[in-house]
């Protein structure tokens, strides 16, 4: 049987035999998936084989495992060369198919990085303990961490006016910020109160549709609808909260997942209200204190560019939307930072840790949970309102389960409860895949690889440090930190 990779490096012979065993298992697994496929024939289906691919995969498994094994021992430099060679073979197209080539490049690079990291460390401090390169990286990052938040904040503030920023980047930034806000909202429920919610997109949908319907039927504007949409979403949060009060963990996740789907299915089928799958269009755009972003304003009103004496540009509206979502997200963040220090926020964290102990210190778990669902949902509703206003169109398609999964992934990947972690994870999960859209399907492979890498090196999330909400003696200096 193959050893776990965490075992200490063995002899060269052992590594080779280990890799052989590994390759054998990989071949056995690959045989039905890769080795055989069906082709349509005159009478039904015919089985065909893909022998070259199978051989290539087996070889790749052998070399990859060998490289990883060697990368832990004194042959790390050799492993790096091996990795480079594999990647090069994949690159120049010596392999039977494109898919196998992509895997070869990815596997080769992983081996190369591991081997090179180990080799570099080995020459710097011989016999170093079990510190990995990622640890060193994390240490360095930890020293810079206190500055990261403020730096990101300043960059976010001036972003629209940076010279290299164009319409495309700004749209992307708006998208990322929307997810940052959703991540922060869900973080209240999942990160603080510890209630695993797989249906968060439901509240996003409630917010978006509330605004869409209010605008459609009563002709109300964005600013009038924003608080109402938040309120409706909060009510739905309580509606979800009641039946799941006694549930925890897996069961809670399943019910919330169902809730999210229910909302979407209602939106699809209640055609008389929601116009079904066709969605609602013509949603008004938000105004800037009553000033519209149009070239030709309605008679008797002024538009943004006229009021400020500017040349008309569609970019104004995009910049405004950017700042709007930035403010909404920052409000969410500020709220969370504040409430953590108030009794309700502290009760949430206590609830996450131990519900029985919570009761023993006089916390009412029912109200505390409902408050978490309601407030988390409210911020989801705000984000939904923004989404509707930005798209001027909503349809149930935008609120599928995958959205909930992505938002949850942002929270988990960021390190449950970490506000800055949510920002980094949103950049990683939303920003990078969108930016590399032209790479098409390969971006999803890269995305998966990045997720795996994070889970290996930062299993508790990118930033898993939890800031205490109170320290001894507010003198700061005297307190050991």
């Amino acid at each position: 049987m193959a050893r776990p990779l965490s075992a200490p490096a063995g002899t060269l012979r052992r590594e080779v035999s280990d890799a052989l065993v590994f390759a054998l298992i990989a071949t056995a697994l690959a045989l039905p998936f890769i080795g055989i496929y069906t082709v349509p024939a005159t009478a039904g289906l015919r089985l065909a084989t893909r022998l070259p691919d199978l051989v290539a995969i087996a070889g790749l498994a052998f070399v990859g495992r060998l490289g990883l094994g060697l990368a832990r021992g004194p042959w790390a430099a050799g492993a790096a060369v091996l990795g480079l060679a594999v990647a090069a073979i994949g690159w120049v197209g010596l392999l039977p198919s494109r898919e196998v080539a992509v895997f070869a490049i990815a596997a080769g690079l992983v081996v190369l990085i591991r081997g090179a990291m180990r080799a570099a460390r080995g020459s710097a401090e011989p016999g170093a303990g079990r510190r990995t390169g990622a640890d060193a990286l994390a240490d360095g990052a930890a020293r810079l961490l206190p500055y990261l938040g403020p730096v990101l904040f300043v960059v976010a503030l001036v972003l629209p006016f940076l010279p290299f920023v164009d319409r495309r980047l700004l749209d992307l930034a708006i998208l990322v910020l929307t997810y940052v806000m959703l991540g922060w909202g869900l973080n209240i429920v999942v990160g603080l109160a510890g209630l695993l919610d797989l249906g968060y997109v439901a509240f996003y949908a409630v917010g978006a549709y509330s605004f869409a319907l209010l605008a459609l039927h009563f002709d109300w504007g964005f600013w009038a609808c924003l608080p109402l949409a938040g309120l409706f979403a909060a009510l739905f949060g309580i509606l979800l909260g009641f039946p799941v009060l006694r549930l925890r963990g897996d069961y809670l996740a399943i019910v919330t997942l169902g809730f999210g789907e229910m909302i979407r299915i209602v939106l699809v089928n209640w055609t008389s209200l929601t116009n079904g799958p066709n969605g609602i269009s013509g949603i008004p755009r938000p105004s800037f204190f009553g000033l519209e972003f149009t070239r030709e304003p309605q008679p008797g009103t002024q538009s943004f560019h006229q009021f400020f004496g500017l040349e008309f540009s569609t970019l104004h509206r995009v910049i405004f939307l950017y700042y709007l979502i930035l403010v909404l997200a920052l409000v969410t963040n500020f709220f969370t930072l504040r409430i953590r220090r108030l009794p309700l926020g502290r009760a949430w964290e206590a609830l996450r840790e131990d519900e029985i102990a919570c009761r023993a210190i006089g916390i009412n778990p029912t109200n505390t949970k409902l408050a978490a669902f309601a407030i988390g949902a409210m911020f989801g509703g705000f984000a939904g309102t923004f989404f509707a206003a930005r798209q001027t169109f909503v349809s149930p398609e935008s609120f599928t389960f995958i959205e909930s999964a992505i938002i949850l992934a942002i929270v988990v990947l960021g390190g449950m409860g970490s506000q800055l972690g949510v920002v980094l994870a949103a950049l990683l999960l939303i920003g990078i895949p969108e930016w590399f859209r032209e790479l098409q399907d390969y971006r999803m492979i890269a995305f998966g690889a990045a997720m795996v890498a994070v889970m290996i090196w930062r299993p508790r999330g990118l930033l898993a440090v939890r800031e205490p909400t109170i320290r001894l003696g507010r003198r700061r200096r005297g307190a050991p930190s």
């Binding site: 502290r346 023993a360 006089g362 778990p365």
Partner: protein, 245 residues
């Protein structure tokens, strides 16, 4: 101060308390001893409202507690350091204490923390450490400290000596006496460590299979041959005494 009359508690069909009568007077330390599974923890938890008693009455300072929910009961001046300590593991020592004070008036917080740190100086050194990383003894001190933060009139302690070294046990028992004497807090103490518990307590009860079978002065119970046989393993006077059941 605390009066239980005919209290019966069930877990589903299983009856854990079979008509318990128990009294804790103002400023008293009362010990409750009994074998594993006798229902000691259940009794403390029943006072706290979960599980709720199916019959009987529980009066605290003249008010009926039976039928009220836990978080209400915990605001009437009762604090519970439950079995297994139940520290909030990812929160720091200070945050744990702060949570204990959730039901108390905020202006007392600084003095109350100071008092806990004076009783358990090690907690001051560990104030920024996460609760889950404390040693067992430190966690027990934190559990008692957290219970004290709500400024209780009655403290329910469930096996505070469980798994602790004799030195630490003595320290904790000294602190319990101290809390009782200086702050006048009444204590209902559940213990396997019958020797220590009965020496500390003014009165004691023995619980067997959900029934009180014996009660009386702590010293008298200590000398009772039945108790010596059942809970003191021949009356050994060492710190190891009382671990049998």
């Amino acid at each position: 101060m605390l009066d239980l009359r005919g209290v019966e508690t069930f877990y589903g069909h299983i009856q854990a308390l079979r008509g318990v009568d128990l009294h804790v007077g103002e400023g008293e330390i009362v010990a409750l001893i009994g074998a594993n599974g006798a229902g000691k923890s259940t009794l403390l938890m029943t006072v706290c409202g979960k599980p709720a008693p199916r019959a009987g009455s529980i009066r605290f300072q003249g008010k009926e507690l039976a039928g009220r929910s836990t978080h209400e009961i915990m605001r009437t001046g009762i604090a519970h350091a439950p079995e297994g300590r139940r520290i909030f593991p990812r929160l720091t020592v200070l945050e744990n204490l702060q949570l204990g004070a959730l039901t108390a008036a905020p202006e007392h917080f600084a003095t109350d923390v100071e008092r806990v740190f004076t009783l358990f100086p090690v907690l001051r050194q560990r104030s920024g450490q996460r609760g889950g990383t404390l040693s067992g003894g430190e966690q027990q001190m934190l559990a008692i400290g957290r219970a004290l933060m709500s400024r209780p009139r009655l403290l329910l302690l469930d096996e505070p000596s469980l798994g602790l070294a004799p030195m630490i046990v003595q320290h904790i028992f000294r602190v319990i006496r101290d809390i009782n004497e200086t702050a006048g807090v009444s204590v209902l103490l559940v213990e396997q460590n019958a020797y220590h518990a009965l020496r500390l307590a003014r009165r004691g009860y023995v619980l067997v299979n959900g029934r009180i079978t014996l009660s009386g002065e702590g010293a008298a119970l200590l000398d009772n041959p039945e108790i010596r046989a059942a809970y003191l393993e021949g009356g050994a006077r060492s710190d190891k005494a009382g671990t049998g059941a």
